[in-house]
Chain length 194, copies 4
């Protein structure tokens, strides 16, 4: 069973998820700048989700690269991840529509947590179905550290949502930056921090 | 004529079908949890259809794997399957919108039956155009058994729709689990059941 | 310059065109069968367009198979074809929305004519950029005959739109069948008809 | 790390961007020609954007062809380009909805400028990560000249938007033609112009 088709299908779904989110930013009726600038929460939530789905695409790319044999388990763990990622446009649209209101921010944080967990499950399924490999272990090690840190930041963003959702939004951005920084740097930073 | 492009086109259509279904779950106007939880029938019907389309993708993957030569017959049997699958988002949206009302559940069951039949036709077309192959026969044998069982369950879900649509929904889930369980187990279970 | 990416891009666009058409069939508000059956013109126009776009995909598949070198001319003739095909969902939606009203049927026929012309241009561009090849010539020969016949049928469907659009719809179906019948049969039929 | 998946993902996103734009052209309620012809600004803006995204696809195709090793930098510069391109449907929809009103034309010009800048950044990232290569240098040289000229034309179109947006639209078309003309011709024309 080839992994090419699994990659192609996942890429297709991720490409559609990342692009249909923009359909939530409805074209204003009038032509005034005020009507355009009123869309900033939708634009901001789109930007945030574009970065997150982009990061998932990049990491998924690396992860499948370490797969040698596609098993039923991998197919279903992958489908599970894609399912939760496919709900990101909904959570993004709600947060943008409601101008980063408390509940919408909490849902968004929960969705990102569930996606993170699904990614972790996929990792574990791949790990259990393959013989240990130094390069894979190292990749997973870094990603687990980042994943734990992200989880803490998501929980913090839920706590802050009760006081000031701007701080929650900022914490989402911190998570994004955490993953955008190339592995080597973050690894070094984490090692120095120990 | 290469089968790569047939696979790529089918994967593209399936990836779009599975993802545009989420557009039926419209973002609530307000920010209350009550507005979110009112969407549960839409969410549930999306989950169900995501699993079904995912199963079709997996089975389609296996099925095309046994194809050696793409004929006109295979192209059109494949297009026929994709056509009916492309109506799943509509049936899903109706069932979610109408909170699993009787008629919508019956339509959904009928759609799944037509998709199953179309899959069976594709199988037969592939079989008739290729020389007998032990591995393919075995795969088809298991899938035909599962297919017959699914048909019975779909018919039952239509009957139960007149009394209690929750039972129909449960039967859809049973069909999904039937296909999600890896082939070897179900084959063993079926053999023991004989 | 590889033709793989041209094929992949075209397949992607065709897969999206064929699938987003279904979004024009809006889910009914209520749960009555009457509301579902009121959608038959939308369903019929979707079916018709699904077949046409499917035929274009199949023919495009064959056509690009004869390409050895991708030139700028081929890229732009291909883009031109994709542009007009991308307007099919709009023409389909209008015809379904207006219950096959005269003007909408005329627009639909015109769109199919323009798509046919664009396909012909792509054929000619490929022909002019490659050395003569017996297999390609034969394929083009059959397709040109079918294309001319389709043109006549489209013109007839425009004429009949002024009297009875059901006949126009039937003529569209005749064109679809004309292309669905495998090449050898139609070729034989055409030869016998001469 | 393979560049095939980067190409596939980019192709997917570009294919979706180019196709979902057509969803902005809503089907008229009635069946009169007047209702159809009232859509000309939407059709025109769609045509313009289809050409621009098509040009980006073609250039992106050439650009990635010169890539030997995919780095993190290339992935993120590519994602940045895709993000801004994904906003083209929004800018297109607004310009069409508002009948090429001043502000919408300015936004459209700005979006095209940002996309051009993002493309330039991707070029530079690729250049800095690879050893000098005569063919790549030549390609970049031509594209930078065209890019500079486009920038001037975009700025002019913003200036003219304050007086007559038809001229701005014409300038967009000039940019499109500038890129559609095959490289050799424009290179020769530019050289002769010096």
């Amino acid at each position: 069973m080839g992994k090419n088709r699994l990659e192609a299908f996942s890429d297709g779904v991720l490409a559609i998820i990342i692009t249909i989110m923009v359909l939530e930013i409805k074209v204003p009726k009038g032509e005034e700048w005020a009507e355009l600038s009123a869309l900033w929460p939708k634009f901001l939530s789109y930007l945030l989700s574009f970065i997150f789905v982009g990061i998932y695409w990049g990491n998924h790319h690396h992860l499948l690269h370490t797969v040698k044999r596609v098993s039923s388990g991998i197919i279903w763990a992958n489908s599970n991840l894609l399912f939760w990622l496919s709900l990101i446009p909904f959570a993004t649209g709600w947060m943008g529509e409601a101008h980063f209101a408390k509940n919408t921010v909490i849902l968004y944080a929960c969705m990102l947590m569930i996606c993170g967990l699904s990614y972790y499950i996929l990792q574990k399924v791949i790990q259990s179905g393959h013989e240990p490999d130094a390069r894979r272990e190292q990749l997973f090690h870094v990603q687990e550290k980042k994943g734990m840190l992200s989880l803490v930041l998501y929980l913090l963003s839920i706590v802050f949502a009760f006081f000031n959702t701007a701080i929650s939004g900022l914490l989402f951005l911190v998570v994004a930056v955490l993953w955008l920084v190339p592995d080597r740097n973050i690894e070094k930073a984490l090692e120095e921090g120990e």
